[in-house]
């Protein structure tokens, strides 16, 4: 199955060129949403959504309009889109291309981030000419840029994120020497992947915290 993903704002014309230019599209998944306090925006997005759904119906392509609860919540959108791409891949479906031209600014940037992390081909559609611009994306795989020990530490922290682990506790949990963990933690701190926080009960101890952004990097199944 070939799927086209996209973000949609007020203009179906920013998404439909990608459906046209992709061969044998079986499904279109698009993300849309408007500020609920802005009736004009709500109407414009609803009209655009109807336009894309009508087009897909006529072309006999299955379409799934995903309503974003808050189209300005960058992190939630990125997590949602990345999760959907992963789910699609797990089911053996191909995400042929992701069009990031429409929608709010945070929606578009969050979609770009998900595409970089998942290695999905990405396109823009020019505002005036409606021509597609293919972005030369490179997948950002954390396995390429972190050592296996660093990855193991991040996974352990993610698995135990409800716990407040100190460096010593983390070393014990991983069955490693404290000095080894300390060395890798210093590298991870320099890369901005983890941080140390003062222990609330004992100021001599430090809690190792995964940065919020690292959870986005690791994704839900790593």
């Amino acid at each position: 199955m070939v799927a086209v993903f996209g973000t949609l704002g007020y203009r179906p014309k920013s998404l439909i060129p990608t459906i046209r230019s992709t061969q044998d599209v079986d499904k279109v998944v698009f993300y849309c949403g408007a500020d609920r306090n802005d009736p004009e925006a709500v109407k414009n997005v609803a009209d655009a959504k109807k336009g894309v759904l009508d087009y897909c119906r006529t072309m006999k392509i299955a379409a799934d309009a995903v309503e974003l609860e808050d189209p300005f919540d960058f992190k939630r959108i990125a997590v949602k889109i990345r999760g959907d791409i992963k789910k699609h891949k797990r089911e053996g479906k191909e995400v042929a291309v992701f069009n990031i031209a429409g929608g709010t600014r945070p929606t578009s940037s969050a979609a770009l981030l998900a595409c970089i992390l998942e290695g999905v081909p990405t396109v823009y559609v020019h505002d005036l000419t409606y021509e597609e611009i293919h972005l030369p994306l490179l997948r950002m795989e954390y396995s390429q840029v972190l050592s296996s020990e660093e990855r193991q530490i991040l996974r352990t922290l993610l698995k135990n994120k409800s716990k407040e682990l100190t460096e010593v506790e983390l070393a014990k949990l991983m069955g490693k020497h404290k000095a080894t963990i300390n060395h890798h933690l210093r590298n991870l701190i320099a890369k901005g992947a983890v941080r140390l926080e003062r222990h609330p009960g004992d100021s001599r101890k430090k809690i190792v915290r995964l940065e919020e952004s690292t959870e986005l990097l690791l994704g839900d199944e790593d």
Partner: protein, 212 residues
Amino acid sequence: MKVLISTFGRDDFEKVVQAMRRLPYERLVLVGGSEAAESMALARIKELEELSGHEVTDEIVPESGFMEIVDAMSEILEKHSREARGRRNEIILNISGGDKLLGDAALFAAFRLGVETYHCDERLTKLPVLKGLTAKDRFTPSQVRFIKGVDGPSVPFDRLVESISPGNRQPVERVMRELKKAGLIETEVMSGKIVITLSESGAEVARAIRTT
């Protein structure tokens, strides 16, 4: 020195002020199109910064052409990370200002150069760009040498062997296979000789390597 670089549009006073309040910095750089550079919002931010005895640096980038903006943004990030006597500044990038194209191009450049990046509006979201890890770090030194070697529209494989590993084709052939599998190069046989060209993604890697 901590340098906050923020994308900026002509109506983005509030967004930039949010970033200024929530992210630590010693120098502020705003990046936008030519309209933003002449906006009232920029004048107000300059006034605010003057109160702290500092100036705002404004940088203008092209308003269209995604990769042109990515390249311009990469140059700006690189330029402001350099300090006198070979020292490096700490760059913090905010991508919430300006139009979609600018924000997305800035995010693209951040991954290229490994710059700490945020999306700051009512919420502050730290983005998963690993600090200091550039596009170059995703490749082995021999792969980087190979990509750098393809310095024209197409390059004969024999010439690459001569420049990378004279008289020893085998390791260069292995790198060629790896890069071809990754979709970064294309090969074709012309007059009995293998000729290498960079794919679109390969060209992006080459640009990224040149920037870093």
